[in-house]
Amino acid sequence: MKYSFARSRSLSRRLMFCSLAALFALPMLIGNARAASMEEIKKRGLIVATEDDFNPFEFVKDGKPTGFDNELIEDLRKAAPFEIKQQILPWTGILAGVSTGKYDAAITAAIITKERKQSLEFTSPIADATHYYVKRKDDKSINSIKDLSGKTVGVQAGSALLGRLPELGAMLEKEGGKLGKVVEYTSYPEAYQDLALGRVDYVVNTIINLQTLVAEKPIFEVGQAVSGKSFPAWAVAKDSTELLAFLNEFIAKEKASGRFAELQKKWFGEAFPNLPVSFEPQF
């Protein structure tokens, strides 16, 4: 950078401040994008976001998206009177994209939390997502929750699993322990890899994800629950009441026809027939 402050100081400085001010002012003037109405969606198609690596809900195999949510999207394509455009991206961008109107819906396993309900609306839950931890099978030092005290935990950045770690912390403190170091990963496969390598001692995820993991990789073992009730659902922006009703109707139909339970058994190993239709989170 050969930009020298020595020459024509005041003009460059003034210009710099003006452009800084403009940069900050611009978004304020244009404002945030808003949620689309069903009319707009019917015209231009529904834009949904899914995660790129969240087994078994959605992941990519041999170049094609597959998994529980992706199969439901296929069903949705047949049922919906409009086009469905799907964007696959890392988790950290999905909810932010929905809340700012970039995507109409996140068809992913987004856990319902109080904080998220401030800027998002959730559909009926699609599975049971109580948080559990997973450890290396040959790690004999961890046998119950209190053994987790002081150990390093891996979670996904920006996830509800990270957000509810304080619940685990409270559990540990009751027995005189405390939460150890928390490492935030972009996605779970990386966290599991580090668990296998011994860089973290346990990883926290939903029971469904962990059961799938352990079935594929027997070097891991699932431990106990580290949270209370938790449910994942699809997310839409705060004022998308019509879209929310549409998606809830779709989910109810899939449940009634038995397809929902069929997909749950296929991908999770068990069906969850008693899912609530709506859920108010404690956390």
Partner: protein
């Protein structure tokens, strides 16, 4: 939007710790890379073919591999060979080794254009080796290579942002964490951009002050 910046401000501790990590990581690896570069440069110019070829392979190798891939190899690949480092050490090692190759090239380029007379005079006057290096060779070399080394340091600062991928809590990781929890992407990332800019301005100032010292000496 003001509200968004308010959220970012409330998370300033995380951002500042990310900034501190970035600054610390960059400084340490820059210094280490420079020292390593000093060891590799004579190897590059060595008369023994095996040494110079080996050094050449190292330097060319680092220049042909993307830094992010190299960081992944150090973090996830080395454990397969028995070397397991935590993310901070991996990041530091990857940054250092990668940039040592570039530093070696820079030093070699600066060395080649150094006048030989002062060194010959020093030898004629009987300067012992270490003193010769410290007082006759090193200062002009560093002063001549100063701006290019400064650019490389800025490159190191920017490469450190890649390390967010291996879960290292540096500045971009902090901004990303804030935006993924509060959904304030613009505020979080533009703040990060300005902090990076500020860091680079500091380096720039350092480089120009070295430049001024060089001018005075001349």
């Amino acid at each position: 939007m003001i509200h968004d910046f308010g959220i970012v401000w409330s998370e300033r501790a995380l951002l500042l710790s990310g900034l501190a990590n970035t600054a610390l990581l960059s400084t340490l690896s820059a210094a280490a890379a420079l020292v390593l570069g000093f060891l590799v440069t004579p190897a590059l110019m060595s008369k023994h073919r095996t040494v110079s070829v080996a050094a050449g392979v190292f330097v060319d190798g680092m220049r042909c591999v993307p830094f992010l891939l190299f960081a992944y190899i150090v973090y996830y690949g080395l454990p397969s060979l028995g070397i397991r480092l935590d993310n901070w050490t991996s990041g530091l090692a990857a940054l250092t080794i990668y940039n040592a190759a570039y530093m070696a090239e820079i030093l070699r380029g600066a060395w080649v254009v150094q006048p030989r007379e002062p060194i010959e005079a020093g030898i004629a006057f009987g300067f012992p080796e270490i003193r010769l290096f410290r007082r006759i060779i090193l200062p002009p070399l560093l002063l001549a290579a100063g701006p290019v080394i400064g650019n490389q340091i800025i490159q190191i600062i920017k490469d450190s942002a890649f390390l967010t991928i291996i879960a290292l809590p540096e500045l971009t990781h902090a901004a990303s964490s804030i935006q993924s929890r509060h959904y304030v992407p613009f505020a979080a990332f533009i703040t990060a951009v300005f902090l990076y800019w500020g860091l680079c301005l500091v380096i720039e100032a350092g480089v120009s002050s070295i430049g001024r010292v060089a001018e005075e000496r001349r």
